[in-house]
Symmetry: C2
Subunit: 428 residues, 2 copies
Amino acid sequence: MTNALRLGIAGLGTVGVGVVRIIRKHAHLLEARTGRRIEIVAVSARDAGKDRGVPLGDYAWETDPVALARRDDIDVFVELMGGAEGAAKDAVEAALQGGKDVVTANKAMLAHHGQDLALLAEEAGRQIRYEAAVAGGIPVIKALTEGLAGNEITRVMGVMNGTCNYILTRMEATGQGYNALFKEASDLGYLEADPNLDVGGIDAGHKLAILASIAFGTQVNFDGVELEGIQRITLEDIRQAADMGYRVKLLGVAQRSPRGLVQRMQPCLVPAHSPLGQLEGGTNMVVIEGDAIDQLVLRGPGAGEGPTASAVLGDICDLARGVKLPVFGQPAKTLEAAQPAQTGLPAPYYLRMSLLDKPGALAKIAKILGDAGVSIDRMRQYGHTNGAAPVLFVTHKTTRASLDVALEAMATTDVIASEPVALRIEHV
Amino acid sequence: MTNALRLGIAGLGTVGVGVVRIIRKHAHLLEARTGRRIEIVAVSARDAGKDRGVPLGDYAWETDPVALARRDDIDVFVELMGGAEGAAKDAVEAALQGGKDVVTANKAMLAHHGQDLALLAEEAGRQIRYEAAVAGGIPVIKALTEGLAGNEITRVMGVMNGTCNYILTRMEATGQGYNALFKEASDLGYLEADPNLDVGGIDAGHKLAILASIAFGTQVNFDGVELEGIQRITLEDIRQAADMGYRVKLLGVAQRSPRGLVQRMQPCLVPAHSPLGQLEGGTNMVVIEGDAIDQLVLRGPGAGEGPTASAVLGDICDLARGVKLPVFGQPAKTLEAAQPAQTGLPAPYYLRMSLLDKPGALAKIAKILGDAGVSIDRMRQYGHTNGAAPVLFVTHKTTRASLDVALEAMATTDVIASEPVALRIEHV
């Protein structure tokens, strides 16, 4: 009777409302571009009574997202609830089993269950699309899976948690410390309910694991991501980095090494004049390097109603146009199990510590570094306070393993006032 | 007998050879990603005997690209010859009429004949894909047509001629003038056979016209692009701009205005700290603004064997995967005829001229500007040479039409030593 693409939308938070709003506002534009009407049939959310600022009366209401996913009158199940487990995953599985395509923004679910869901979808001949799961409005999944399909991808990097970048760049701009800016971000509603998802690097790590799967033809392996948050970054780190021509970013890097797949999400120093170094506030950036393209840089809003809904709509339009793709760029059954690299490629490191005011303290540390094979490029000691002195080293290229040997040895001395901070200096 | 996607490639210059090289090198990768073998069946180029550094002996050779396009044993005709008219267009038409899909890097052909070719393709149920025609390796056609399909696009901007950006940024870096850098670019092989295609802004204008069509749902209208090259930019302009916090870029801008579609490709001043302002050398950048995404910035290599071949392969992989899209994002028969705006939106302008050393010269110019309704924000006169003094104005926001009235009036005075240079200051 109709050629419309019929949607069921589960989750009416910021993103869900944004999707409804675009579909209502741009009905004609979307039909002109896809050749089909995009029609919302039914929706689902926790609270049916809440005023969400968009009229929802035309749509059937399901209290249970699984029931929504099983409706016979939808073609596409749009999952915008979030959460790695539980209702979101149950509903996505029900949708795929029931012959529906899925559009989702759920990075946690894909990072933890992407391989199983992709197998399920591909056996059922269905699609899972998830542009909104990585880097908000930036169409990076499309660029990597489709636009760069002719490349062997050599490295993927990204600043993909806007809240962390907001905190780090505001520390530099305002001269306030981490705790004050964490509170500011919290007051502004920028933090997840569990803030460790943001500042602990977990959310960004989910995104990196998804990109790595597409880039390297490996099964998503979030457990293989070396994770470190921004909680220990001080204003002093940011200032010392700036003084040496760097900026501190929570940077994700995925690349193949002779030892296996490297996936790191950790605060790094990047050159201040590189595109990544210049990134301000909540904006995201993904850098993709391939053997033919050399380097592609994508920059855009990483969150928010409009940008995330834009990504969801891109996927919906693809489905309306009949685009069919393997979930992770090649069939899930052909993806290799990722072999996580035990240790990453060598790099210079920034090393900050506080040394107690004892004779020979610096000599002890210097000897420990030397014994571990870590050679020092620059050293700086900058003023005593309370019987301890902050000391800064920049090392020559070394492996994290060598550095860890040195850090362990330092911990057994009696000259360290607090646990040292070690930040990789990434050439981008 | 086979599920391979069979290609005929016309044109074995840098890009054609790059495409052959990737298909040979990444045969397995491409098959894993698309589910089909990508097979070159036949090729065509002017000189069959030339050693191009890749083995071509496995492929049938056609001297006539139209004959290649008509072969029964190809699925896709890959046109990499270039030229708006003649053999390239004849062969593309023959391919479409014969039921083949087309992949092309030919911006001139699409800028001049895109609408007719799209109508032809869509009537025949065939695809024309042209990612490589705009901004080299950057998958901008895909981002605009697919990734941002849920947006009403509000503005598209781009630095899309690497040679011009190379000349302008090298002028600043080396302190050499335009002519010296033009020669350097020529010696390095960066210039088209007709250099006016580059430095006159024509090549970049072709690209802008293509992007505008997709962005605004209008028929490609290259004649509607207001074109100005970089030939009159002096080192002094670049230095004065830098002194005020700007950089000079050959910038394309397309947007809807109340008066119609604005398409401008001209040297502009952009803020030095904006992503466009920071762009160095031959790199390209496209900025897309939409009502949901806000702003997306794409940065990558705009030319060269690898990047351009990467874009061609992206299109080929899409065809292998069965992706079908209207050529300009919505069916060609639904595209509106563009109504070119007679005059662009108001902006501040940078205005450089040389005034003869006559009493009252400056007063005359100031009066002319005032009479035309152009008000002055800043003025600077910086030293006489040979009886004339360079004078610089920065105006408040004004229309180009008002400025043109003033420029015409200035030309009738006896105080101007040479034709003034007027550069728009673009807020990006």
